[in-house]
């Protein structure tokens, strides 16, 4: 950078205003996440990858628990040499995050020594530790499933009394709630136990490829590493299987676009043995593979397929139509694996020396070893466990609703988890004293106010980043998890100043060129608007939207790197995709014609 260049930067946190009229809703977030003194001196970016929509008070627990666990892993467990954890702040419902770089060389050296003792042990024992991880994770899931539904009987059941239990039901509310919350915090520790080490090993190979082959597209490296049988692909695979079974059993006529799930199921129940057989197949797929939610699992309203069968059922007619047209739906594992082997072998052959080939072998071996975790953990953590967690909170919502705390069980998500505990204790007290709980007079107004604030916030866009731009982004966590580099920040800054440009640049995620009508989808509820041949434009593409990829012609996202699941799914479907544009959802108008050049990472407004 030359000295003459004006200093680049994004708005300072202190210049960001809470949307008028939403101040009280903003104040509901705890003091720990409010922007304050010292925050102007740091660089922050809007984590639209994980939190693309303004988040309700309760859902904030996801940021809290996740950063608590991420930071512990980086700072204290694996001791990453150059970075500590990630701080987060919330304004207007948007989550901003900032890294904590370690820059003192002596400290880096000290942490490096620790890191190698820890991380290398994980690499050395990856398979056995990962097998142990799966057992731990499944045990945690079973524990969460076993938690009883919170309930308050009028009188303590006689058998409790006769058994001398000595603890009344109101206490169990607290116990269930605290165990629910504790489980969620624990789950995030599991989530980060391997994540950075896994991404790091992958990025090591990635960086080597970029050095050895300066022009290699990101997606080619991804194709050499990505697996094809990760758990995250299973739900969609199950749908394809169910579509095939429907055809085989001759019940495919019972599925049609726009027919309600209940009607389809009723019709199958009346279809005799083939219909019953299909429903048995459905039940087998649902446990566990429909424990996947329609988002990234960070919002309470990202319901799982199991909770809302309309999502998986909506894609069945399309799959059935393709089968009847003679297509094979099953993904060609053999062919994909053969292609992967060919790529790996032929790039290896192009390396300049035997020394390089030996290094390549070492790096890709490690990348392949770590990748099952990188791809697979999401199903257990962000989907299966998160669904259980939010559903348990929903049970508390129903209980509080029944006691008049608010008109709708879903309103519970407008309380922070601290407030929810106080509301539960309020109810526990009221049950014990025989008085009326205080909550019904307290919460409804607040819930209304907060719901209105979220609606307000979602109407306003928010800057992609805040504060001074660091000279280099040397934080492996931020580069790995968010794909944020100095170059992408420069592009964001440029996008902010040059809104007249007809081009939006991002990562080339999946090659091909296509033109179509843009559907700007700002929340998961809107994906029903997508028509065949549309270009999906969203803040973050999501792999669990896989079934809609059969409909669309291309995908564009604000955030995400070439290894984001969206990129992987887009490549699999052969759809052009550009990810990590920073601003596509705000610059592209819904219904506008756009051209997506997924090989060059350019979206052109037509």
């Amino acid at each position: 950078m030359s000295a003459q260049e004006p200093p680049k930067g994004f708005p300072l946190p202190s210049s960001l205003r809470v949307i008028p009229g939403t101040e009280r809703a903003q104040a509901a977030y705890p003091y720990t996440v409010q922007f304050g003194a010292g925050d102007d001196q740091r660089f922050w970016f809007y984590n639209s990858m994980h939190f693309p929509e303004p988040m309700s008070c309760f859902d904030m627990v996801t940021a809290e628990a996740a950063y608590c666990a991420l930071g512990a892993a980086n700072t204290r467990v694996h001791c990453l040499p150059t970075t500590l954890g990630i701080d987060h702040r919330i304004i207007n419902g948007r989550v901003y995050i900032g890294g904590n770089a370690v820059t003192d060389p002596q400290e880096i050296a000290r942490r490096t020594a620790e890191f190698q003792k820890r991380a290398f042990y994980y690499y050395e024992n990856w398979e056995s530790l990962y097998a142990q991880w799966k057992r731990k994770m499944l045990a945690l899931i079973r524990e969460a499933e076993a938690l009883p539904e919170p309930a308050l009987p009028e009188f303590e059941p006689l058998e409790h009394v006769h058994a001398g239990r000595g603890i009344a039901s109101n206490h169990h509310l607290l116990e269930i709630y605290q165990r629910t919350l504790e489980g969620y915090f624990r789950m995030w520790h599991h989530h980060f136990e391997f994540l950075l080490l896994g991404y790091g090993a992958y990025l090591t190979f990635f960086a080597f490829c970029k050095k050895a082959f300066p022009e290699i597209p990101d997606q080619t490296v991804a194709r050499m590493v990505a697996g094809m049988e990760a758990e995250i692909f299973r739900p969609d695979d199950e749908l394809r299987r169910l579509a095939r079974r429907a055809v085989e059993l001759g019940v495919d006529g019972r599925f049609a676009e726009g027919v309600a799930v209940e009607a389809v199921i009723r019709s199958l129940e009346q279809a005799g043995p083939p219909g019953e057989e299909w429903l048995r197949e459905l039940a087998a797929s649902r446990d566990p593979w429909f424990n996947i939610n329609v988002g990234d699992g960070f919002y309470h309203y990202h319901r799982s397929w199991n909770d809302d069968l309309s999502m998986p059922f909506a894609s069945l007619p399309g799959y059935i139509a393709r089968l009847k047209a003679g297509e094979t739906l099953e993904r060609p594992f053999g062919k994909l694996q053969e292609e992967r082997r060919r790529l790996i072998g032929e790039y290896r052959e192009l390396l300049g020396s035997e020394a390089e080939r030996a290094a390549y072998d070492q790096m890709i071996t490690l990348a392949h070893r770590v990748f099952p975790y990188v791809e697979g953990h999401k199903f257990y953590c962000e989907h299966w466990y998160t669904n259980l967690f939010f559903n348990k909170i929903r049970e508390f919502g129903a209980l509080l609703c029944a006691h008049g705390f608010f008109p709708d069980a879903e309103d519970v998500f407008h309380l922070t988890h601290y407030e929810l505990e106080s509301a539960i204790i309020d109810l526990m007290n009221a049950w014990s004293t025989g008085s009326a709980p205080r909550g019904p007079a307290h919460w409804p107004a607040l819930v209304t106010e907060r719901r209105a604030a979220i609606a307000q916030w979602s109407q306003h866009s928010t800057p992609p980043a805040l504060g001074p731009v660091p000279a280099v982004i040397d934080d492996p966590a931020i580069v790995m998890l968010w794909g944020i580099t100095r170059e992408s920040l420069d592009a964001w800054l440029e996008a902010g100043t040059d809104t007249a440009s007809r081009e939006i640049r991002g990562f080339a995620a999946s090659s091909g060129v296509v033109e179509g009508t843009a559907r700007v989808v700002k929340s998961v509820e809107e994906i029903g608007r997508l028509q065949r041949g549309d270009i999906l434009v969203c803040q973050v593409t999501n792999p669990t939207w896989a079934p809609i990829f059969q409909k669309i012609a291309g995908a564009v996202s604000d955030i995400g790197g070439s290894m984001s699941h969206a990129a992987i799914v887009a490549r699999e479907f052969g759809l052009p995709a550009v990810v990590g544009t920073g601003s596509a959802t705000s610059r592209i108008q819904d219904g506008q014609r756009v051209r997506v050049d997924g090989g060059r990472g350019i979206v052109t407004l037509l």
Binding site: L80, P81, T82, P105, I108, T112, F115, Q116, A119, F120, Y123, E124, L197, G200, A201, L203, T204, A207, F208, K211, A212, F213, P214, E215, I216, P217, T220, R342, L343, E346, Y347, L350, L351, G352, S353, A355, E356, A358, A359, Y360, D361, Q362, M363, T365, L366, V472, D474, P476, M480, A508, S511, G599, R600
Partner: protein
């Protein structure tokens, strides 16, 4: 004795006798790559011809004694050498051999040929002086061919070539000139292909540049060619730059080539289809594998049948000469590689 060899009879090892271009064309044909058919007038013909001149007027000794810095002396000497080459008649048995080989190549109808210099200097020298050693395109009759053979020989003594050799103090009698005579392709499109990136040296990409008509317009820089970058392994076309190709080289009625305007409708149309790009990629990979190193290739699409033909392939020299540090070497503990990510900028 015979002074000519068909392409099929020669290969790279014959370079001292057939020059770089001749050896390469023979080698390509042997490797099963389609090249326009032709033959080489070997360096012993040149040596014999030169010996005739040297009988009373030493050439090599004169050149060897030139001071690399004294450009005017070089110019004077080169002019003298070239006029000797022009004046000395071709030995009749040699002319007869060329005539026979030509008749065999082109039949009685006398298809036009390219007459090209093929020096025995190193590839790097060859590459640097590709434009200085003469090539004559679309030569139609035998008289012209025989004349151009002499011109090719004489081009070894162009000012540029001689001063280059003098600057490097190269041994003159190690330098000789063969001549390639090859059927001319009336190319629909032609251009060059590098089996590594000219800008980054990346061995995993193939860069193809092409324009309408004969390749001389591209090689000579008279037209801005279309440019594509393809993944060597994947075939993904990552760059497509279609330029405004306002002119093309075409055979002239009386022999030689002429520059003609390209009709408006074709100027901005891609000069190669995706299928042709992939065919070129396949050929580029085969040639590279055959030679064991990245190549710098000239190609043409035959206007008659659409066949992809190679006119030349030589090892890429610019990046090959750079001492690139390996991207990484094997580590005793394979896990230490991750420090490139986790260790910060100053590892």
């Amino acid at each position: 004795m015979s002074y000519v060899s068909g392409f099929a009879e020669v290969g790279l090892r014959d370079r001292p006798n057939v020059g770089g271009k001749g050896g390469s064309l023979g080698e390509l044909q042997r490797a099963g790559i389609a090249v326009p058919p032709g033959f080489v007038v070997r360096t012993d013909a040149f040596e014999r011809f030169l010996a005739r001149i040297e009988a009373d007027w030493p050439v090599r000794a004169r050149i060897s004694s030139l001071d690399a810095e004294d450009l005017s002396a070089i110019e004077r000497c080169c002019a003298a050498v070239r006029s000797r080459f022009e004046e000395m008649p071709l030995p009749s048995d040699l002319a007869r051999q060329i005539e026979l080989a030509h008749a065999q190549l082109c039949g009685v109808r006398g298809m036009p040929v390219a007459v090209r210099s093929s020096a025995t200097t190193e590839d790097a020298v060859d590459a640097s002086f590709a434009g200085l050693q003469d090539t004559y395109l679309w030569v139609k009759d035998l008289r012209q061919i025989l004349h151009r053979v002499r011109s090719c020989w004489a081009s070894l003594y162009s000012v540029g070539s001689v001063s280059y050799r003098r600057q490097r103090n190269m041994l003159e009698h190690a330098v000789a000139m063969a001549v390639v005579i090859q059927v001319m392709v009336d190319a629909r499109a032609a251009g060059v292909m590098f089996t590594r990136s000219p800008t980054t040296g990346d061995r995993s990409v193939i860069t193809i540049e092409g324009a309408w008509g004969l390749g001389s317009a591209v090689v000579g820089g008279e037209v801005t060619p279309d440019r594509w970058v393809l993944g060597k392994v994947t075939g993904d076309i990552t760059v497509r730059e279609i330029s405004d190709k306002h002119i093309r080289h075409a055979p002239a009625a009386g022999g030689g080539i002429e520059t003609v305007p390209v009709p408006e409708s074709s100027r901005r149309a891609p000069s190669l289809s995706d299928e042709e790009l992939q065919a070129l990629r396949g050929i580029g990979r085969r040639v590279e594998r055959h030679y064991g190193c990245p190549q710098d290739i000239e190609w043409a699409i035959d206007g008659a049948d659409g066949e992809v033909l190679l006119l030349q392939s030589r090892p890429e020299t610019v990046w090959a000469s750079k001492e690139a540090a390996p991207a990484a070497s094997a580590a005793p503990n394979p896990f230490t590689h991750v420090m490139s990510i986790f260790g910060g900028k100053d590892k």
